[in-house]
């Protein structure tokens, strides 16, 4: 195809991506008779042998409950679990492992902040600032909180052709006295990489507590919570090669120490009487019950795996694929793309004229390509963009340009199918 101008995009640094890909058993299969092309990484990533084997080894050799046994296996399980916490602290450059709370995922992390810090600190008339590109999981917990305490929600608009945040409106909204500001690091629909350090710096200067939704960024770029300057940051293990069911909430220790517990149970207490209990210190105060120990073991292996490749290299690779895909798709007549052309994160969202996203995704699936079609848990943003849904291809380091070329060929075939069968 004439629009395949490959020389315009030099390849990212010299990493043996094909060798890395071969560590993912699931990718070596055919779907509907075609080699699987997995482009739904923003929903969840696939898992390398290193992660699968670490979980297996934990259950084969080290499984017991944590923090309460005196026996050898319990000591091993506790060491694995707390070792995982230390590893997360270094992964995001937290000042202390006490700032790392294990959750079920990004959604629970945000809900935890709303249910603890939010309920303790917000009152009627206070303002919570979000942006129009937030995932439902960074909208609905704040709606529930605002309904409960009588606080008010405000939104930073997305503007312009590329739908980036309106920074002037942001400054103006902060001036209205915002108590809490929560923002996504990377938009899962638009592929926009928000200037989170600048946003957090301004919000904190205006007196707001800051929350970063790092679901789409944690496995794709180097995270440094101290450089970002956020008070809280939440992410999920399963989008960064780890297992489902495990996630992380980072919180600055002085704030965590001031917060009431989240759920009640074992682990989160210091002493329990029939009518009154005292609570453990952070992070245990926020981890009631037996935690997802094998999830932490798997997440630990995932972080080691990502760092063995290098997160800078991963980011360059994913960005290269996204910009390559954006370029190729922009040359196809009848395809509308969302978000910026350059400087984007590793995904592209698009619409094909006269072909609904669900039909497109069904057709792509028949050719072995896993795409996402729908509102991507971004219904308010979709309304603003004036579209019911989009199709999305989201990339990871095991994807390559040949797969993107194949996607574009298949999309052109889909377009041909619908136009040749058109009666209009």
């Amino acid at each position: 195809m004439s629009f395949l101008n490959k020389t315009q995009f030099p390849r990212a640094r010299n990493v043996s991506w094909e060798l890395i890909r071969s560590d993912f058993p699931i990718l070596e299969q055919t779907v509907n008779g075609e080699a699987l092309v997995y482009f739904d990484n923003a929903a969840t990533s696939q898992k390398p042998n290193a992660v699968i084997n670490a979980i297996r080894k934990y259950y084969e050799t080290g499984n017991a409950n944590v923090h309460r046994g005196i026996h050898e296996l319990s000591n091993r399980a506790t060491a694995s679990f707390e070792g995982g916490r230390q590893r997360v602290a270094s992964f995001v450059n937290a000042a202390s492992a006490d700032e790392i709370i294990f959750t079920r995922g990004t959604t629970e992390g945000i809900n935890l902040v709303a249910a603890t810090w939010g309920v303790a600190n917000l009152k009627a008339g206070d303002k919570v600032l979000l942006t129009e590109m937030e995932h439902h999981s960074n909208i609905v917990p704040w709606q529930l909180l605002c309904e409960r305490v009588g606080a008010e929600l405000l939104y930073v608009p997305v503007v312009g052709d590329s739908n980036e945040l309106d920074m002037e409106a942001f400054d103006q909204l902060l001036g209205q006295g915002v108590k809490l500001f929560s923002v996504t690091h990377i938009s899962n629909t638009l592929g926009i990489l928000n200037p989170v350090a600048e946003l957090c710096q301004k919000a904190r200067a205006a007196g707001a507590v800051t929350v970063v939704d790092a679901a789409q960024s944690a496995g794709h770029l180097k995270l440094d919570v101290q450089a970002l300057g956020c008070d809280f940051l939440a992410f999920s293990g399963h989008k960064m090669c780890g297992p489902t069911g495990i996630g992380v909430l980072f919180g600055r220790l002085p704030i965590l120490e001031s917060m009431p517990p989240y759920q009640g149970g074992g682990e989160m207490i210091s002493t329990v009487d029939f009518f009154k209990s005292t609570y453990n210190k952070p992070p245990h105060r926020f981890e009631a019950g037996t935690p997802d120990i094998s999830g932490v073991v798997g997440l630990h292996a995932a972080m080691d795996f990502l760092d063995s490749i290098g997160r800078e290299a991963i980011f360059e690779h994913d960005q290269d694929l996204a910009e390559y895909a954006y370029h190729l798709l922009s040359e196809v007549k009848g395809i509308r793309l969302f978000g910026p052309r350059a400087g984007r994160a590793g995904l592209v969202s698009f619409l094909m004229e006269d072909v609904h996203a669900h039909d497109l995704v069904t057709f792509a699936d028949q050719k072995g390509i896993a795409l996402r079609g729908g509102h991507h848990c971004n219904q308010p943003l979709m309304k603003k963009l004036g579209v019911p849904s989009t199709a999305r291809a989201s990339f990871y380091f095991y994807n390559n340009r040949n797969e993107v070329d194949y996607l574009v060929e298949v999309l052109v075939e889909i377009q041909r199918f619908f136009s040749s069968n058109s009666t209009s």
Binding site: N32, H356, T362, Q366, G373, F417, T423, S424
Partner: protein, 148 residues
């Protein structure tokens, strides 16, 4: 290139999705039902004008994929002049057709184009949504229906 899908996305379905029949608001409607699948965003408003037990007129509005739109369009052609008991019986047969590819009884006419949907389980909810909206309308239910 898309052999299995060509069976499903036949000319009839593509035609009805591109040029849906009875695609309008029906001002004289006395039964209105909403069908909405929040996960995929398909939504349909179905308007029925009933005279006693018989559907005199039917129309729809909404947005969705080719399958849901064609299903709604063909449904509006099918329901006209049918009684509620005929529609209830037809619903059962259409449900069987969409979920299994087969249905008992007399030939089902144009609706036969939906026999291929069951091979694509993720799309069954798209084809069946307008039919649930129709049942909701004749039952006089107020809340929107969903097939997710």
């Amino acid at each position: 290139m898309f052999d299995d899908l060509s069976d499903l996305y036949q000319q009839v379905i593509l035609d009805h999705s591109k040029s849906p029949r009875n695609f309008r608001v029906l001002p004289q409607a006395n039964r209105i039902a909403q069908g909405y699948n929040p996960l995929c965003g398909d939504n349909i408003t179905l308007y029925l004008e009933m005279a006693g037990d018989v559907v005199k007129n039917v129309a729809f509005q909404g947005s969705g994929c080719a399958i849901s739109k064609a299903s709604a369009s063909i449904l509006t052609e099918t329901l006209k002049d049918k009684t509620t008991s005929e529609i209830r019986s037809l619903f059962g047969r259409v449900h069987d057709l969409i979920t299994t590819g087969k249905c008992d009884g007399d030939p089902i006419g144009k609706l036969a184009v939906f026999a291929g949907v069951h091979k694509f389980p993720a799309r069954v909810k798209c084809a069946i949504l307008p039919w649930h909206a129709a049942m909701s309308a004749i039952d006089g239910k107020q809340e929107p229906v969903s097939t997710e």
